[in-house]
């Protein structure tokens, strides 16, 4: 070596430059989560209760304590949402996804390491030695660093939006599961009352039979109605259990924790907006503007587009490495250094990369079409949600204000005729059962209103829920629960 000091200095300064170029390679795990949390809390109040990443922004003990405190007395709907945002493990898993994307973004901002090749060869049977040194850098990795960084940034942004979206999803789903549980619970009470009417009807028929006043046929007919009512109550009890399990699953609870009580009934129907559509107004435009799903899809398109740009270059000529080659030969008279640049590349003779470029271009095309499809979905969902909300409100209000009062009046009027002995006790009880069924329908309709409202609010916060993607079963909403006209009487 002729000038080892100079070599060492060159190496050292090259290393310092590299260090500056790379910077600190720490992954902003916490910050990326907090950014996602900020996005979510800007869009909905549901996240105001606290969204935490166990192990990063809070500890297991703190979360357990918070959940236990919330479960202590009756759990209100707001508290249920808080619990799910703290305790749902799938949501926690999404945070890790986000952190991985952040890591990839960080990695994409760092130049590739140069490859150092060092070879010592010693002359066998002689004093000669050869020292070869090559330092090669992936040129594409270096030249395309900014582009690759921008691709990863887009992917990270998409992942951040996705996590915010998952927070909104979970909050919305929990809210709707609470409404369902409230509705099923109250519906069960009404079903039990209706069952009491069927039970008493059957007992009355038996009492009539014991007095010798009706044939056994009449008793059996009432008994049949009683058993049908019993089955309906059992089904309602099962529906309550299912609704509870759904909620427990969303809240991430198990074991003794599932013994909590839901406080509060389904909220009453609010007064309708004086001008229909004034609060909603332009739902389609707002849904599109705020849509996380669309922004996320657009970022996918952007990433694909940038990837295409990169591929256009890299697909023609594969890897290019360039660097410095040095060789020292020890000969008589001293060592001789041979130093010079080196280049390694694939020659595009057989493969020029069209298939790869086509593939990536088609990927971009696909991303774009999916983005447009999603835009249609979001717009459709917006109109659908608005229409469903209006209909649900009208239907619930109509059932509560018109249908139930008519059925209640039927009971009262039937009772007058019962007092006049022109209608019997079976007709009176049947009228009561019909009133209770109307009340059950009204309750279900009210739950349907609140569910529709939650879906619309979630959409305007930016997240499309699955219920809005599919058409509603309108025919299924027309109740088959009307009892036939004449019942009872022997």
């Amino acid at each position: 070596m002729r000038h080892p000091w100079r070599m060492a200095r060159r190496l050292a300064s090259a290393g310092l430059v590299l260090v500056f170029v790379t910077g600190c390679a720490t992954v902003p795990v916490r910050e990326s989560f907090e950014d996602a949390r900020t996005v979510a809390s800007e869009r909905t109040d549901e996240a105001a209760g606290g969204v935490e990443w166990i192990g990063v922004t809070t500890t297991v003990a703190e979360v357990d304590g918070a959940v236990a405190a919330l479960l202590a007395e009756g759990v209100t709907p707001d508290e249920a949402v808080q619990i799910s945002l703290l305790n749902n493990r799938r949501l926690q898993a999404a945070y890790a996804d986000l952190a991985a994307a952040a890591a990839r973004r960080t990695a994409a901002g760092i130049p590739p390491n140069p490859v150092l090749d060092a070879v010592f060869r010693f002359e066998q049977g002689g004093d000669g030695d050869v020292f070869e040194l090559s330092l090669m850098e992936d040129l594409w990795g270096l030249l395309l660093l900014p582009r690759n960084r921008r691709i990863a940034a887009a992917e990270l942004e998409r992942s951040r939006l996705e996590v915010a979206g998952r927070i909104l999803d979970l909050a919305g789903a929990t809210r709707r599961a609470v409404y369902r549980l409230q509705a099923e619970r109250q519906g069960l009470e009404l079903a039990r009352e209706s069952f009491l009417a069927a039970e008493v009807s059957s007992e009355m028929a038996t009492a009539l039979r014991e007095a010798g006043n009706v044939p056994w046929l009449g008793v059996l007919a009432e008994r049949d109605r009683y058993e049908q009512a019993r089955l309906r109550v059992a089904a309602r009890e099962m529906a309550v259990a299912e609704a509870r399990e759904t909620l427990d699953q969303l809240l991430g609870l198990w074991g003794p924790e599932t013994g909590w009580e839901l406080a509060g009934d389904l909220p009453p129907l609010p007064e309708p907006d004086p001008e229909p559509g004034s609060a909603l107004g332009d739902v389609e435009r707002r849904a599109v503007e705020r849509s996380i799903d669309l922004a996320s899809a657009l970022l996918s398109v952007e990433a694909a587009s940038r990837r295409l740009g990169v591929e256009r270059v890299t697909s023609v000529v594969g890897d290019i490495e360039a660097g410095v080659e040095a060789e020292e030969e020890l000969e008589e008279g001293g060592s001789v250094w041979w130093i010079g640049p080196g280049l390694s590349l694939h020659l595009p003779i057989f493969q020029q990369g069209q298939p790869r470029r086509t593939e990536v271009r088609m990927e971009l095309r696909r991303m774009w079409d999916l983005y447009e499809a999603l835009a249609i979905d979001v717009r459709t969902a917006a109109r659908r949600a608005e229409r469903r909300l209006l209909y649900a409100h009208q239907r619930a209000a109509y059932l509560e204000e018109v249908v139930v009062p008519v059925r209640a009046a039927l009971v009262e009027e039937t009772q007058l005729h019962y007092n006049a002995m022109s209608k019997g006790v079976f007709e009176l009880l049947a009228a009561k059962r019909r009133e209770l069924e109307a009340r059950m329908d009204a309750l279900d309709a009210r739950a349907g209103y609140w569910t529709a409202r939650s879906e619309l609010e979630q959409l305007l916060a930016g997240r499309l829920s699955s219920g809005l993607v599919r058409p509603m079963d309108v025919a299924g909403m027309m109740d088959g629960s009307m009892l036939d006209g004449s019942e009872g009487g022997h």
Binding site: V200, L208, Q415
Partner: protein
């Protein structure tokens, strides 16, 4: 005078031999004015047949057979005046139709029209009637009166008036399409005839009987005799029987109902809103009952008396043939006159003895609750329907005490409140109130029972004295 009795019936052979002819002729001739058409054949026998052979001919004597009203027309009676020629009848809850005299003819005006009628307090029905009422006003006249009755039709349907039981020219019989064209809405028809015989008759439409009679178009028509063989009764009551189907809570009777009538009336009123018949102790009473119910005959039973049935709408019943009864069956489309001496003081129920005919608006589709143990069930049902009360487990009687709300314009649980309590009785019933002295026709209030005359509850001492054990089986022999 021929020695062979003949009855001129237009036959070649005599079919009736009457002996001795002179007495019979005298009886027939004298009674004809009173008994009228029933013995018109015998009256004709008063005409002596100059020639036996000629007597067989329908045109014996060269004259057409005498019409039933010929004699009275020829007699040219003066128009009968109340008080002077007859004692007017009293129609409880009703009235008598006014008439005016025009050239010796009594002119009446009936207006057939839709009306609103209070069948009982708390129950108003929209039905059809005459001159604002149902039954229509009683028409009263005397044998031989020349009558002219105008009938104005304000109904939405054509009508006519048939004079039930009256013997008159066929053209005045009032059967739409058969004897006259119907009187269309807005038109006024006129009937003229001379009642030839006394009796209790009725008047009603004859176009669409089911609808028009069913909706209340009925009325009594009393014809008093010109000469009397027996003293007139001191009080003379007129009662028209009718039945209705008014679904509880409605105000329109259903004339299409054929079997299930739920309201029965005397003079258009249901008990306890029927005005009582008031009489003085010792007075002679005549009660004229007419039945224009749609479908039901009514056995009218009077408590406290055995009366005699003295006439039908066919005419008077000879004294020896009068049927003694406590219950007179009045079939649909007939009248029955009964007479009694009011010698038994008190409040006497007179009612149709068909038990359902003394109930107001009973429902007939409810379960039979008699004897059903409902104790625990009542509480359960109250949880669903507050205010529910078990009904009917021991019949209807107790229900009259309770005042449960019922549909508007209905009287199903109304019942009757007397001085000793309440019962559920209603329907086709009234009370004959016999009082000392000369009471008017207004309700004198409940009877003041003499001390100790009301059946008391048996005290334990009394039962012990007579060896009666209320907890044991009753005494008596069993047969078989």
């Amino acid at each position: 005078m021929s020695d062979r009795p003949t009855v001129d019936e237009g036959r070649a052979e005599p079919t009736l031999r009457l002996k001795p002819i002179t007495r019979r002729v005298a009886l027939a001739g004298g009674a004809a004015a009173v008994l009228g058409p029933a013995l018109s054949g015998a009256a004709r026998a008063a005409e002596p047949a100059a020639d036996p052979a000629a007597a067989r001919s329908p045109f014996a004597g060269g004259r057409a057979p005498e019409l039933p009203w010929t004699r009275v027309e020829r007699a040219r009676h003066r128009p009968g005046e109340p008080g002077r020629d007859y004692r007017p009848v009293y129609t409880p809850n009703g009235m008598t139709l006014d008439w005016k005299l025009v050239d010796g003819v009594k002119v009446f005006h009936l207006v057939a029209e839709p009306i609103v009628h209070e069948l009982a307090e708390g129950l108003n029905v929209r039905c059809w009637g005459y001159n604002g009422r149902t039954p229509g006003p009683t028409i009263e006249s005397v044998v031989g009166d020349r009558l002219r009755i105008y009938v104005t039709n304000r109904l939405p349907a054509p009508t006519s008036v048939h004079w039930h039981g009256m013997i008159l020219p066929c053209g005045m019989d009032g059967v739409s399409a058969l004897t006259q064209p119907a009187i269309r809405p807005g038109e006024t028809g006129v009937y003229e005839f001379v009642p030839p015989a006394p009796g209790t008759y009725m008047y009603h439409p004859h176009f669409d009987g089911m609808t028009e009679e069913g909706l209340g178009m009925t009325g009594m028509f009393v014809v008093h005799p010109r000469t009397r063989r027996e003293p007139a009764p001191d009080r003379d009551f007129c009662i028209m029987l009718h039945e209705w189907m008014v679904e509880t809570g409605t105000s329109r009777p259903d004339p299409n109902e054929m079997v299930d009538f739920n309201l029965l009336t005397m003079n258009g009123r249901a008990f306890p809103d029927t005005h009582p018949m008031v009489a003085g102790l010792g007075e002679r009473l005549r009660i004229r009952l007419g039945n224009l119910s749609q479908m039901s005959h009514h056995p009218i039973h009077l408590h406290g008396y055995a009366f005699e049935i003295v006439a039908t709408d066919g005419g008077p019943i000879p004294p020896a043939a009068r049927w003694p009864e406590t219950t007179v069956l009045v079939p649909v489309g007939t009248t029955r006159d009964v007479e009694l001496l009011a010698d038994n003081p008190g409040d006497w129920l007179m009612h149709c003895h068909m038990t359902h005919h003394t109930m107001n608006q009973m429902g007939h589709g409810i379960p039979n609750m008699v004897g059903v143990e409902q104790g625990a069930l009542q509480e359960k049902i109250r949880r669903l329907v507050p205010g529910y009360v078990t009904m009917g487990t021991a019949g209807m009687g107790e229900m009259a005490h309770h005042r449960h709300p019922v549909p508007g314009n209905s009287i199903p649980m109304r019942g009757f409140v007397g001085q000793f309590g309440a019962t559920i009785m209603g329907g086709m019933a009234t009370v004959l109130k016999v009082r000392e002295g000369d009471p008017g026709y207004e309700d004198p209030g409940p009877y003041e029972f003499p001390e100790g005359s009301v059946s008391p509850l048996a005290t334990p001492e009394r039962m012990a004295r007579d060896g009666v054990d209320p907890n044991g089986e009753g005494d008596g022999e069993t047969w078989g």
